[in-house]
């Protein structure tokens, strides 16, 4: 949950990248990490297995600058995609302020997207959240591949509300910052309401 510290004048928010295995969540974080100035970021921590699959989470703190004199710090997390890591996915959603769903645009990953999105809704619910009411962005990743589902079809299948839908090629950075910006904007707008 958002943490506002008046003494150190900081706002801390937590954003989680969700999606099926190998859809490009870690790649999103890696790109943000690689293109951010050293003074604005901390370490990118990956709790990965030996075969490089995310085991528990990836984590990266990112400082975006100040709003009304408050330093805004975003804590970005990814979840492990594999079905059998559901327990760790639930844990990472605790205290979340905003969610990015990274969909894999390839035809053969359609079922995996649907299953993961369903799992997100369920896990949010188990933590007391409702996807319909939290800051949320749908990213359609891997648009560079030949076998992708057309954007309108993919969006029609996966969108849940009037969330921003952003096309991306995380591997080269296309759409990565647009996605982050879209979710960060909603999180900060929530503060305005609270």
């Amino acid at each position: 949950m958002t943490f506002i510290n008046y003494a150190s004048r900081e706002i801390n928010c937590k954003i989680v990248y969700y999606g099926p295995g190998l859809c490009g969540k870690t790649t999103n974080l890696q790109y943000i990490f690689d293109s951010t100035a050293p003074q604005s970021k901390g370490k990118l921590i990956s709790l990965a297995t030996e075969t490089d699959r995310t085991l528990f989470f990836d984590f990266m703190p990112l400082e975006l600058g100040t709003v009304r004199g408050f330093k805004t710090r975003f804590h970005l997390y990814t979840v492990p995609g594999q079905v059998f890591y559901d327990a760790s996915r639930k844990l990472i959603l605790k205290g979340v302020d905003g969610v990015v769903f990274v969909a894999d645009s390839q035809e053969e990953r359609m079922d995996a997207n649907i299953e993961s999105l369903y799992n997100l809704e369920e896990n949010l619910q188990s933590q007391g959240y409702d996807l319909m009411n939290i800051p949320y962005v749908l990213q359609l990743n891997k648009r560079d591949l030949p076998n992708v589902v057309p954007v309108p079809d993919l969006a029609a299948e996966l969108h849940r509300k009037s969330e921003p839908v952003i096309e991306a090629v995380a591997a080269t950075g296309v759409g990565v910052f647009d996605t982050l910006k879209a979710v960060a904007k909603q999180v900060l707008t929530e503060l305005r309401k609270s």
């Binding site: 949950m1 958002t2 943490f3 506002i4 510290n5 008046y6 003494a7 150190s8 801390n12 937590k14 901390g42 370490k43 921590i45 709790l47 528990f56 989470f57 984590f59 703190p61 975006l64 600058g65 709003v67 009304r68 805004t72 804590h75 327990a87 760790s88 639930k90 844990l91 990472i92 605790k94 205290g95 979340v96 302020d97 905003g98 959240y129 409702d130 009411n133 939290i134 800051p135 910052f177 910006k181 960060a184 904007k185 900060l188 707008t189 929530e190 503060l191 305005r192 609270s194």
Partner: protein, 160 residues
């Protein structure tokens, strides 16, 4: 809607810092560190020049979340304390409601001493934090207007 934000005021922050300072001294620890259960750091006292506190906060929260998950699988609510002892450096974590108290110590201290002092500090921290939570849920006009004034331009300017 996500949880209501936790709002920490100057005065409470300094109270917390004072408790951490005393704890560190009394337990001869390197660092005393308070983070919330989501991994966001709240206050720290001690020599942190070589310590990546942001990463430590996130990993400690992940560690507690994972062990709490394990506790529930065997029918416990949570494990209130965790300690990891290394060859020279060690970590003690205790769960105080919504926050975690982390103490980093080396051979100049001992787990027994740290546990004792942490117990005492926990009582004080719990009561300060109760107040933080209570006040966070109150709507205060000053803050309300501060954030109500955030404009789209303010937000856009973060991404330049």
């Amino acid at each position: 809607m996500a949880d209501t934000p936790i709002v920490m005021r100057e005065q409470q922050y300094h109270q917390i810092k004072a408790v951490l300072a005393k704890l560190r001294l009394d337990s001869s620890a390197r660092v005393a560190f308070l983070v919330d259960k989501d991994g966001q750091q709240i206050a720290v006292h001690g020599d942190v020049s070589t310590l990546d506190t942001t990463s430590l906060a996130s990993l400690a929260a992940g560690n507690v979340a994972a062990t709490t998950g394990m506790a529930q699988l065997i029918g416990e609510k949570e494990f209130p304390t965790l300690s990891h002892e290394g060859e020279r450096e060690s970590i003690h974590i205790s769960v105080i409601g919504r926050v975690l108290l982390i103490v980093v110590f080396d051979e100049r201290s001992s787990l027994g001493l740290v546990k004792l002092r942490v117990k005492q500090a926990s009582v004080e921290l719990a009561s300060i934090f109760e107040e933080v939570i209570r006040e966070s849920s109150k709507k205060e006009t000053a803050e309300a207007s501060l954030f109500a004034e955030i404009t789209d331009e303010d937000i856009d300017s973060l991404f330049n």
